[in-house]
Amino acid sequence: MSSSWMMNDHEKKALSLYIHYPFCVRKCRYCDFLSFPADAAARQAYLDRLGAEMAYRSQAFSGYEVTSLFIGGGTPSLMSGDQLLALMDHVRRHFSLREDAELTMECNPGTVDAEKLSAMRKAGINRISFGLQSARDEELRLLGRIHSFSDFLKSYEAAREAGFDNINVDLMSALPGQSLSSCMESLEAVLALAPEHLSVYSLIIEPGTPFWDLYGEDAPGKPAIPLPDEDTEREMYHRICRRLEAAGYDHYEVSNFARPGRACRHNLVYWRRGEYLGLGLGAASLVDERRFSNTRDLPIYMSSFAPAEEERLTEQARMEETMFLGLRCMRGVSEAEFEAAFGKRIGDIYGPVLEKLCAQGLLAREKGRFFLTERGLDVATPVMAAFLL
């Protein structure tokens, strides 16, 4: 099964493009993404290098048509309007973009104004993803965000005025000091704006971040502002899911919710193992059942496009991925699709695992699909790990 936007009429294969823009104004205290501040000259040099990378890689993709593009970061909205236009010119010069392609750009509230939004429209961007995280300023400060809630409101309204009709808002739950009610307040404040899409991520304390030093496994002493306990964290998650479903959003992936037809096509490509090419620092790709990724070292990237990591996926690895990626989507894994892809029945490979997980109430089976139950969703990692052969 493939959705219509993954197929195409001219026998061309569907490709998604990811472009990484690693620069930000200031690193947030929870952030372990590949991002860092840099001066204007370095940022321009990087964009030039991206153009060169497209020229270098695109030759292999003449048989492909781009159905989605995602510019992530970092803070891609730090690019000037002209820089963005130049970047998208490069994309169009080297790749064939399908007319109805989903073209998303991540924006930090407070970094876009009417002028930049109009340049984004001109560059063809048709979807914006705002990294709001919380509607409460004290929580934003604690996270080390550079914007306030009112900055976000201004940016959001400006985006609507500029004609963007497909907007995602990122929120975070389980923040330090956050209560169930303050979490729901943030959600309501965003719901009032009726965005087409919401991503609500439960805070992950990542090694190497300032938050890790405060809240990580080896953190000394008790932090002044503690994290919500596990029960509260799960309660937040489940209440968010219920509230968004009641408001007409489809809970289609662990942390993602969309109005009908507004699921992020680009992200679905990752979970459904569609083909994608990552451009820029540290960007990951899946092409021809080969996973590879660019170097995460900026000076090396500026001089070589050689993949830092590369792996040809065996049939076993593909089966495992089909399971652990497929289960991130609420619709789960289709028995028929599994059989079509591998010529083997899912039960022949995973029979005992599926049976055990179903018996434990972690998986359910309906209409030829296996999917996570509400309980299975809480402990998705060990459930997914069970599918490694």
């Binding site: 993404f33 992950i204 799960r234 490509v269 990752y270 994608y276 990951a284 434990q360 990692t381 060990p382």
Partner: protein, 603 residues
């Protein structure tokens, strides 16, 4: 090589643990120039890593030293190092049999301790002359005069002219070397009589085969001598004889009565050269073998399992090798539902158990899971049969048991008077029967108790140290068996009994111990996808229960930018973690949970 017997001294150094035995040995070797300074490394004789780290001697070692006395004559000293801990009395006994005298090292601050006494008695049993040395005189708390009085009063040997030294700082070592000539007797024995040599140790060398360490009591042995091991009957042609340099073997032409050395004869099987056996000349045999060593029986048993079941053969090989020069180690195959294939092993005591475990892990690179130690119980069945039980899993049904007996030990605890109260409390808690107390001086006393062995094999030593702030020391010997009310306590995880966690306990202590086991396991068993009850039971009666709550949350909220490899690594890490667990029913139990129950009084 003809050496005048009167110029040979064979001796060992005995001491309470930490009193400086190995340091003195090092100084003696250093002073006599047996090693150059560059070759010298602290504690030359303790050549196992483990011995160095723990600062204790486990295996006997020997070294030959040439000493030029003040009168200008050369003497040959054979120094045989011995273990200091009570668990290794067997090893001590082996070494003592090769000596004619012993240097007794006593700490100038701590004075006579329990093991000082135990070792002196062992030496006297072997008819050795004991030469006291007062060590650590440069410590601020040193009181050598008091210690001299103590040695004379408590042990009953002359100590007035005992050398007062600091082995650590090399003070008065010459005096020790000089006194050895006077205080340690020269060996006797007729070099022209038929060969009679006592094997006190052996090691395996992949080039030379078994290297046999022995003391020639009578006769002589040279390259080419056909020898017979009198107990096993095995005969060999001697390939090489020699003596011990520090850390190396030095070949020589011949060893005669009174000398200590080694031989090789391309011996492939260590079993043919048993420690304690007598070597004689196959062509001119002696009439009777020398008396062997006191045979010791293991007192403590536990199951040892390879963490990775595939390494069972490696564990078997390793145990076999260790047993070759540690006759006190016992093992036999055993199977556990929870742990798979392994061995039931017998040890002299808990330290012996720990040492073997560490040697298996370090020298043989094995990852082990050990079960709770058990003593040997006597079970008298209603049909009149008596069985010795060292594995709780084999306990017969209670209906078949008439009564049970457990081993008891006579324990001597040396303690400063301030801590007599807490130590007596501890012995009471451990079902001790007070036998008496002797004041050694105004501030120190020797407490005598009768204690069930199963009360001291877990953590008694730790408890003793903590309740006396480290001032108590302890020695024991098996006294016999006594009738006792004992029950088998089973641990059920998720309603299934885990055989490796079963143990036998005094009936009145069962409730307390069961509760502690459950509490400890609750900490050690990670949360699973479902709730896991942990229960302690006697027969079908549940006496304690804890619950490991179900895992609440483990889900990755975000998976960024299509970096699937990173996600896979996380899943693989989870799977790896599972491999280090033991699957019991549906529950994954970490290997260390099986060991954590050994120390229930930690916190």
């Amino acid at each position: 090589m003809q050496v005048d017997q009167s110029k040979i001294r064979n001796f060992c150094i005995i001491a309470h643990i930490d009193h400086g035995k190995s340091t003195l040995a090092d100084r003696i070797i250093e002073k006599t120039g047996t090693l150059t300074l560059r070759e010298m490394q602290d504690q030359v004789l303790d050549n196992m890593d483990l011995e160095r780290e723990r600062g204790i001697t486990i295996k006997s070692q020997a070294v030959r030293i040439v000493y030029k006395s003040k009168s200008g004559e050369e003497y040959i000293y054979n120094l045989i190092d011995t273990p200091g801990h009570v668990d290794f009395n067997y090893e001590v006994s082996r070494s003592l049999a090769a000596c004619d005298g012993a240097i007794l090292v006593v700490d100038a601050a701590q004075g006579v301790e329990a093991q000082t006494l135990a070792n002196v008695y062992l030496a006297l049993d072997h008819d050795l002359d004991v030469m006291p040395v007062i060590n650590k005189i440069d410590l601020p708390s040193a009181d050598p005069d008091r210690v001299v009085t103590e040695i004379e009063d408590v042990i009953g040997i002359e100590a007035e002219d005992a050398p007062r030294i600091s082995a650590k700082n090399g003070i008065n070592i010459e005096e020790v070397l000089e006194q050895i000539i006077e205080k340690i007797p020269a060996p006797t024995g007729d070099p022209d009589a038929p060969l009679k040599a006592l094997i006190f140790d052996s090691v395996y060398d992949s080039y030379k085969g078994v290297i046999v360490f022995f003391r020639v009591k009578e006769g002589r042995i040279a390259k080419g001598t056909r020898v017979r091991m009198m107990a096993t009957g095995a005969e060999f042609e001697t390939v090489e004889v020699g003596y011990f340099g520090a850390g190396q073997f030095i070949p020589c032409d011949e060893l005669s009565a009174g000398m200590v050395g080694y031989m090789t004869a391309s011996i492939k099987n260590l079993r043919e050269t048993r420690v304690g056996d007598t070597i004689t000349d196959a062509d001119h045999p002696c009439d009777e073998p020398l008396p062997g060593y006191k045979k010791v029986n293991p007192m403590v048993y536990c199951g040892m399992y390879p963490a990775d079941g595939a390494r069972y053969p490696d564990l078997r090989d390793a145990l076999e090798k260790l047993q070759l020069n540690d006759a006190s180690l016992f093992y036999e195959p055993e199977t556990s539902v929870a742990l798979g294939f392994g061995f039931r092993c017998g040890f002299l005591g808990l330290l012996h158990l720990e040492i073997i475990q560490e040697r298996l892990e370090r020298e043989y690179n094995l990852d082990l899971v050990t079960t709770a130690p058990s003593v040997v119980y006597h079970i008298h069945k209603t049909n009149g049969e008596m069985i010795s039980l060292s594995n709780p899993s084999n306990m017969p049904d209670p209906s078949e048991i008439d009564y049970m007996e457990e081993p008891v030990v006579a324990a001597e605890i040396m303690v400063t008077t301030d801590y007599i109260g807490p130590i007596m409390d501890l012995c009471m808690e451990r079902r001790g029967v007070y036998l008496g107390m002797e004041y050694l001086e105004t501030t120190r006393a020797l407490l005598k108790y009768e204690l069930p062995l199963n009360e001291i094999i877990y953590d008694f030593f730790d408890a003793l140290k903590s309740r006396s702030r480290g001032y108590a020391s302890f020695d024991y010997e098996l006294k016999g068996y006594q009738r006792s009310e004992l029950v088998k306590l089973d641990i059920l995880v998720n309603k299934e009994a885990v055989d490796a966690l079963s143990f036998i306990v005094f009936a009145d202590s069962a409730y307390e111990r069961g509760r502690k086991m459950c509490e400890k396991l609750k900490q050690e068993i990670p949360r699973q996808l479902f709730e896991v009850p942990i229960q302690a039971a006697i027969g079908s009666k549940i006496i304690a229960r804890e619950t490991v709550k179900a895992m609440r949350k483990d889900v990755l909220a975000k998976c960024y930018g299509g970096d699937i490899s990173r996600k896979r690594k996380l899943l693989e890490k989870q799977k790896e973690g599972k491999k280090r667990m033991r699957q019991v029913g549906n529950v994954e139990i970490p290997q260390k949970a099986f060991m954590s129950v050994l120390k229930l009084d930690d916190e």
